[in-house]
């Protein structure tokens, strides 16, 4: 890792939907303060927020590590939830296993993963059914 890198870590509680997004909010303020261009900050914030929401609604929470280097921002979201059986299917726009009570809260349209892909330069999903999921995303600064 680059010596100029900054590492931020977050615990995402899985039992409180009202707190989902706190990590993304904190990261967004941090990046803004660093003077990162607003378009980049927005892409990172949206991608991380969708990922954070997924951890809460599908996986009972988890941990996020963000590494900020002068060239790029890397986000790693790790959970110990049920895992994703068919990643290709999960990536399809509109595919969702979210129950109706989640849809009533404004999520579960099946657009989270497509949005994460849309706003990042790289998206990788590593998942084992029964063990959990790790999502890594990269956004380039230049």
């Amino acid at each position: 890792m680059n010596k100029d890198s900054i590492v931020l870590t977050y615990d995402v509680p899985g039992d409180d939907f009202t707190r989902a997004g706190e990590a993304s909010s904190n990261l967004k303020s941090y990046l803004k303060q660093m003077g990162i261009p607003p378009e980049i900050v927005r892409k990172v914030a949206i991608a991380m927020y969708e990922g954070e929401i997924n951890m809460v609604i599908h996986a009972g929470g988890g941990e996020i590590e963000v590494v900020i280097s002068p060239e790029e921002i890397n986000m790693k979201l790790t959970d110990h939830g049920p895992g994703i059986e068919d990643i290709e299917l999960a990536m399809q726009a509109g595919y969702s296993t979210a129950p109706d009570n989640i849809r009533n809260l404004g999520f579960g349209a099946g657009m989270g993963l497509p949005n994460m892909k849309k706003y990042t330069d790289e998206l990788k999903i590593d998942s084992t059914v029964g063990l959990g999921t790790t999502v890594t995303m990269k956004v380039k600064i230049q």
């Binding site: 909010s25 967004k28 349209a109």
Partner: protein, 117 residues
């Protein structure tokens, strides 16, 4: 169009942020599903929604949306009001339904973003 002009067009009430009424809004998005909103990236927008919870304000924060219009007379709770104040987001409440509220703003020249690709 300014936030104040939106308020007048919709006969809406300020819940938060009357002092930001002069801010300019360039585009609009109407949805109850936050991921639909997050799929749309435009500067200085207004969000019309029937959803009324903290994640509405979070979504605006991530997207740099400066104003939310709650349709069908929805009233936010104290936590939502508090977060909107902190983030500098105006909340308006109108009795109109989503379709009518969007139509009234469209008629005044406000437009949505590009089609989803």
């Amino acid at each position: 169009m300014t936030i104040e002009e939106i308020r007048q067009t919709l006969g809406a009430k300020y819940i938060v942020g009357e002092e930001w009424g002069h801010r300019e809004v360039h585009s609009a998005c109407g949805s109850d599903m936050m991921s639909d909103v997050l799929a749309f990236m435009k500067d200085q927008s207004v969000l019309l929604t029937g959803l009324c919870n903290l994640q509405v304000i979070r979504t605006c924060e991530m997207m740099d949306i400066i104003c939310v219009v709650l349709v069908r007379g929805k009233q936010p709770d104290e936590a939502m009001i508090q977060m909107a104040k902190e983030k500098g987001i105006t909340i308006l409440s109108t009795g109109h339904r989503m379709f009518s509220a969007c139509g009234m703003l469209y008629e005044k020249g406000l437009r949505g973003g590009p089609d989803y690709k």
